[in-house]
């Protein structure tokens, strides 16, 4: 029997059997305690007092705080709006991945609708940007961060391959500088230095500054991914485009870039997931994203000490969405 059933798979040789037994022992040692904590001894409802009396996890805390964690300080009565905004975003993303088309128009329409849903006006109660928070803010930072970084990354990637030395030097210098420093330092630069660099009388709010920092940071990594894709294009493609009488720009737009972007898709997926996770760093400069909202929920003096539950809840949201992103990337790669 190929595979050999469970005996052949786990106990094929003394070595395999030892390894299996050690691993099974490890599981037997850790898993029951973990399950008891997370499920059997857990409290699923009740107040903080009941939770503190229990030995297991306090999922009642998540039940009490999930709105704060998901939506931040957004007015409770209006939270259907960010929920709907996220639903629209998920729908257009799913449609684009499913049909393997960019759907530019649908994206633009959804982003405009989402902006209206979040900000209000024209029939909806206005909600100031400072009240936006939670998962919608995290998704907003991710989507606009990637979309804003893309054109800059394209310019940088082409610039690094330019025959003109000044262009090459500027593009290379920018990419290597940004890739050499941590995102935290770029966010600090945005929160402390950007206000100094603008002329008197002009200001950017905290969200715009963090968004700009994210765009500048992601663009450097995205540029390297696109450059990798450009390098994978054989010279014959350039020559063939020239032989067809295409000018340099049309050759780039219709022949080279579509192939290069396809080749760099796995790297771009990785960067998209990285950007989604990296948005959590805006906590450090005080924006109210999913990570900050989770910390805020933990700060309630009536419900102190349920950190593990809150982090596991927020972590599973990040985990599921990251996993969905990687799945989407894989589906786009296997374009038939």
């Amino acid at each position: 029997m190929s595979g050999g059933g469970w005996r052949g798979r786990w106990f094929a040789s003394p070595r395999e059997a030892t390894l299996s037994l050690v691993l099974l022992g490890l599981l037997a040692w850790t898993l029951p305690g973990l399950l008891r904590w997370a499920l059997w001894d857990a409290r699923w409802g009740g107040d903080a007092e009941a939770c503190r009396a229990a030995v297991g996890a306090c999922w009642a805390f998540v039940g009490e705080k999930w709105r704060l964690i998901l939506f931040g300080l957004y007015p409770p009565g209006e939270q259907w709006r960010p929920a709907l905004a996220m639903g629209l975003l998920a729908a257009v993303a799913a449609a684009a991945v499913w049909r393997r088309r960019p759907l530019w128009g649908a994206w633009a329409a959804v982003l405009a609708l989402d902006a209206w849903l979040l900000a209000g006006g024209a029939g909806l109660a206005p909600v100031p940007v400072s009240r936006w928070g939670g998962l919608p803010l995290t998704l907003l930072l991710t989507v606009i961060g990637l979309a804003g970084a893309f054109p800059l990354a394209l310019v940088l990637a082409l610039g690094r391959r330019s025959p003109l030395p000044v262009v090459r030097l500027l593009a290379t210098g920018y990419v290597e500088l940004i890739r050499g420093v941590p995102l935290v330092s770029v966010l600090f630069m945005a929160s402390t230095m950007f206000p100094l660099l603008l002329p008197p009388g002009f200001g950017l709010d905290k969200l715009a500054r963090a968004q700009l920092a994210l765009v500048l940071f992601v663009a450097a990594y995205l540029a390297e991914a696109i450059r990798g894709g450009l390098q994978a294009i054989p010279d014959g493609q350039y020559e063939a485009a020239a032989a067809l009488g295409l000018g340099e720009r049309r050759a780039l737009a219709t022949v080279i870039l579509p192939q290069a972007l396809r080749a760099s898709l796995p790297a771009i997926t990785g960067i998209a997931i990285g950007t989604f996770k990296d948005t959590s760093l805006v906590l450090i400069i005080g924006l109210f994203d999913l990570m900050t909202a989770t910390r805020a929920a933990l700060g309630d003096p009536r419900w102190l000490g349920f950190s593990a539950e809150a982090y596991l809840f927020a972590g599973s949201i990040y985990g599921v969405l990251s996993w969905a992103l990687s799945r989407a990337g894989r589906r786009l790669e296997e374009r038939g």
């Binding site: 070595r15 000044v166 630069m189 402390t192 100094l196 982090y311 596991l312 990251s322 990687s326």
Partner: protein, 368 residues
């Protein structure tokens, strides 16, 4: 328009933009009464730093405070690099293990850790280390002299004792003995073990003879906390643990990709030569996989060093955290950010250069 003119225009545009930013910054700083420049580095910092490899007090200069921050960054990054490499290699081999249970567990580990932000993981480890562990009075004692409590991990530290000097002399003697013995048993089995034993036995014997077992200072409970011994703060432990576990999940995928890049024929050939699976992995597969592994591994090492800057979120006094305090106190934002960036760029370049040297050693040579 010729290429030269276009490039000159682009350069003028970039430099002009930078000059405009500089002009705006100068105006605003003058308004706030802050004078630019790095002279503030010599002034008294006036803040305490919780843990410091250097002697440091609030009376010391900003420069010294930043040096402490940089050393703290290196102090947490170095062991995390080592730990992540070992764990990542193990999990990476596990991902391709024939044992299904091992492969499943390795896959679960990678997916669970790679898909969740490092910052969240750091907060979780920090919460577990500070909230779930008992207070010092009820500290766990897994080994004699080792205490685990919500205030940190307390270990025995090498104390002032002649045994350490004896061990040092013993090590010199062992090396001196090993050098002429280097040619002995060349190419024979067990040579490596014999050489290691030759180098390590004299210092161990000398250390034991001089009473090395008593050469430790043990942590002891005094009031509400431990004194003496070696202390690993919860901040350090959470950051080190988080960086290690998170980076290991990326390194595991890099190792797996390296193993996949070695053709199956190589394993089969090794088996045909009579090598056992472990020997085949060590002598045939890994050396070839390293050529694929090392370049992305270098990138992962750089990420780890940069990720250590998340220390600021859990209160470990790394470079970014110290520089942030300095910026808030002095208003020298541009200089502070420039110092952070210069420091990370130097560390990144150093790590990249070291990895490049190693890469040359493992790269394929003399390809016909």
């Amino acid at each position: 328009m010729s290429a030269c003119v276009r490039q000159a225009l682009l350069l003028a545009l970039v430099l002009g933009g930078l000059a405009w930013f500089g002009h705006n910054a100068a105006l605003k700083l003058a308004e706030q009464g802050v004078s630019g420049g790095f002279a503030f580095l010599g002034r008294e910092a006036g803040f305490a730093i919780a843990e410091s490899p250097l002697a440091y007090g609030p009376g010391d200069s900003y420069l010294r405070a930043l040096a402490v921050g940089l050393l703290n960054t290196l102090k947490v990054a170095a062991p995390a690099l080592l730990g992540a490499t070992l764990l990542g290699t193990l999990v990476g081999i596990g991902l391709r293990a024939r044992n299904r249970l091992a492969a499943r567990l390795a896959r679960a580990y990678v997916e669970a850790l790679r898909n969740v932000p490092l910052l969240l993981q750091l907060f979780l480890w920090y919460a577990l280390l500070t909230e779930a562990l008992p207070p010092p009075r009820q500290a766990w004692q897994p080994l004699p002299g080792v205490f685990l409590s919500g205030r940190g991990l307390f270990l025995p530290a090498p104390g002032a004792h002649p045994a350490w000097a004896a061990a040092g002399w013993g090590l010199l003697a062992g090396l001196a003995a090993a050098l002429p013995a280097g040619r002995w048993r060349r190419g024979r089995r067990g040579r490596g073990v014999a050489m290691v034993a030759l180098v390590l036995a004299p210092p161990l014997a000398a250390w034991l003879a001089a009473g090395g077992l008593g050469a430790w200072t043990l942590p002891a409970l005094s009031g509400f906390n431990f004194v003496g011994g070696l202390v690993l703060s919860p901040e350090f432990a959470a950051l080190g643990l988080g960086l290690t576990l998170y980076s290991a999940s990326y390194i595991a995928e890099i190792v797996r990709a390296g193993l996949d890049a070695v053709p199956a024929g190589q394993r089969e050939a090794a088996a045909a030569l009579g090598l056992k699976p472990g020997q085949a992995l060590r002598l045939v597969v890994l050396p070839q996989a390293l050529r694929v592994i090392v370049p992305p591994l270098a990138g992962q090492y750089l990420s780890l060093v940069k990720n250590s800057s998340l220390a600021v979120a859990i209160g470990y006094p790394d470079l970014v955290s110290v520089a942030n305090t300095a910026i808030n106190q002095t208003g020298h934002a541009i200089e502070g950010v420039a110092i952070i960036m210069a420091a990370y760029l130097s560390v990144s370049l150093a790590v990249a250069a070291l990895m490049e040297v190693y890469n040359r050693r493992v790269a394929l040579r003399g390809q016909a």
